[in-house]
């Protein structure tokens, strides 16, 4: 007859599992063995600048078809340059844009660098370091009859957009003064939004200007797409997002950004990805 398991024995197994799990959760101060002072940056992993980014936004951040295991783009290169300045290695982590702020707050990464605009609503959740000018634009099919500077001419049409973006806010704002409402279709990934538009679920797609220009000039869409009109310049520039508690990291990165702006690295990266006009003067 099998002896009954004592309660202690029964509890010890889950307790053991819990102990192991909690041990792995200890916060990681970047104790850099090489001796350079990393000033207690509160990083997720020592020596690594973990960067959350939604890699569905070419040319800012995207997964190249040639290598699905990497993330490339202007933001990726900027992140690497900044990390190098403060003697860290950048690690890009693909994160859904509509849950990217909670990911940062849950310490799944140390910063967000994802063409994120510095908006008042987001300012409540995170701290920002501005780094690029942001503009929004609209794409329609070449043969479409839609003409719209900004969102003014989109009333009564169907527009595909990515969730949790300033574009979505802009469309909702426009809808307040539309007699015939815009049918807004938000999608989790920006590439889903663009595909939905291209497949005919929507009459137009709206995203940031660099992305719009990228799609229009992409050879596979040659001649099929055009801008609906003039883009809208936002008062809310692209900004690196940090946790409210990351004071040290913010100072370090602000200095790093100044450095690469001054030594030409910043401009070089922007030009490489065709977004030179969006630099922060």
């Amino acid at each position: 007859m099998r002896a009954n398991l004592s309660p202690f024995t029964l509890l010890s197994v889950p307790a053991l599992i819990l102990a192991v799990a909690l041990a792995g959760c200890g916060s990681n101060n970047s104790s850099n063995k090489s001796g350079t002072s990393t000033k207690n940056l509160g990083l997720k992993s020592a020596g690594v600048l973990s960067v959350c980014t939604d890699a569905t936004y070419p040319p800012m951040e995207y997964v190249p078809p040639s290598n699905p295991n990497t993330i490339v783009g202007a933001d990726a290169d900027l992140a690497k340059a900044l990390a190098k300045q403060i003697h860290l290695r950048a690690n890009m982590i693909n994160t859904s844009f509509d849950s990217i702020i909670p990911a940062l707050q849950a310490k799944r990464c140390d910063i967000i660098m994802s063409s994120m605009s510095n908006t008042p609503a987001r300012e409540k959740q995170v701290n920002f370091i501005n780094y690029m000018v942001a503009e929004e634009a609209v794409i329609v099919k070449t043969r479409s009859s839609i003409h719209s500077n900004g969102y003014a001419g989109l009333c009564g049409t169907t527009v595909a957009v990515e969730k949790a973006t300033t574009e979505l806010d802009g469309l909702n704002q426009q809808n307040k003064s539309c007699s015939k409402k815009i049918n807004i279709l938000p999608y989790t990934a920006d590439t889903d939004a663009f595909q939905a538009f291209y497949n005919g679920h929507a009459d137009a797609y709206t995203g940031d200007l660099p992305v719009v220009l990228h799609y229009i000039s992409d050879p596979q869409y040659k001649g099929k797409l055009r801008k609906a009109g003039n883009p809208v310049k936002l008062n809310e520039p692209y900004a690196i997002a940090l946790r409210k508690s990351s004071g040290n990291l913010k100072s370090a990165l602000t200095t790093a950004l100044k450095t690469i702006e001054n030594n030409g690295t910043y401009k070089k990266i922007l030009n490489k990805w065709g977004v030179g006009t969006a630099s922060l003067k």
Binding site: K163, P186, D192, Q195, G200, H201
Partner: protein, 239 residues
């Protein structure tokens, strides 16, 4: 907490919950119809195996592909494959994908239900000179329903939850509207709790009605002899 109460009866969320319910009922209904035909095809005794084979193929295919993939296929795949000739809206795509998927599961459930009916019933019906169609309609299926209801109730409850997958193709159901709110105000926990509450409410009510339906088709307690003749349509006075 106040966010939770603020959004519990928020109009877009109520509208989303209603669509979830409507989608579930329609998709389950269509799924049952598809499943019934598939089950009968699978059980057919024709010399040519075509019907059995086709039914088996359908079930294999739609049970073998995740529902999320089916949804994306209908919404994103078909337009691209047909060069934008066939573009289905998000609600239509959701209904189609959910029904096709459900049909495969209902086929197996109905087939099991039919096979659970005492074969003696079919023999008796044949002895009385009833055709296959008549037997199926009036003797087999009425009895099979008793075996089909519990798993179907289960399927409906799953269906209520599966509709949440349609959020990825922008179907304006409950989860989709919940996400739109928390995307804007960053209140993930309260809003997801609101969604959970509504899903629980709908699944609990469905469970209750499933119980009621089972009671109505219950096999009453009878003596062994009379139980043999307790079938719909058979009058005991003829014994």
């Amino acid at each position: 907490m106040s966010t939770f109460w603020q959004y519990l009866f928020y109009q877009p969320i109520l509208v989303g919950a209603w669509l979830t319910l409507v989608l579930s009922v329609i998709a389950q209904g269509l799924g049952i119809i598809i499943g019934l035909f598939l089950a009968l095809m699978r059980l057919s005794r024709t010399p040519f195996p075509a019907l059995r084979w086709l039914s088996g193929l359908y079930v294999w295919f739609f049970r073998g592909i995740p529902l999320l993939v089916t949804l994306l296929f209908v919404y994103d795949g078909i337009p691209q494959a047909t060069n934008q000739a066939i573009v289905l809206g998000s609600v239509t795509s959701a209904i189609i994908a959910l029904s096709l998927n459900e049909g495969a599961y209902m086929a197996e459930i109905i087939r099991a239900g039919i096979m659970s009916v005492n074969p003696g019933q079919v023999d008796a019906a044949k002895a009385l000179g009833m055709t296959y169609a008549l037997t199926t309609r009036r003797v087999v299926i009425p009895q099979a329903i008793r075996f089909i209801i519990p798993p179907t109730g289960n399927e409906f409850i799953s269906m209520l939850k599966n509709t949440s997958l349609a959020a990825v193709i922008a179907t304006p159901e409950l989860l989709y509207h919940t996400q739109l709110v928390y995307d804007a105000n960053f209140e993930y926990f309260p809003l997801l709790t609101v969604a959970a509450v509504w899903y629980l409410l709908m699944t609990t009510i469905a469970t209750y009605f499933q119980g009621k339906l089972e009671q109505r088709t219950e096999y009453r307690q009878l003596t062994a002899r009379r139980r043999r003749f307790n079938v719909p349509g058979f009058r005991a006075t003829h014994v």
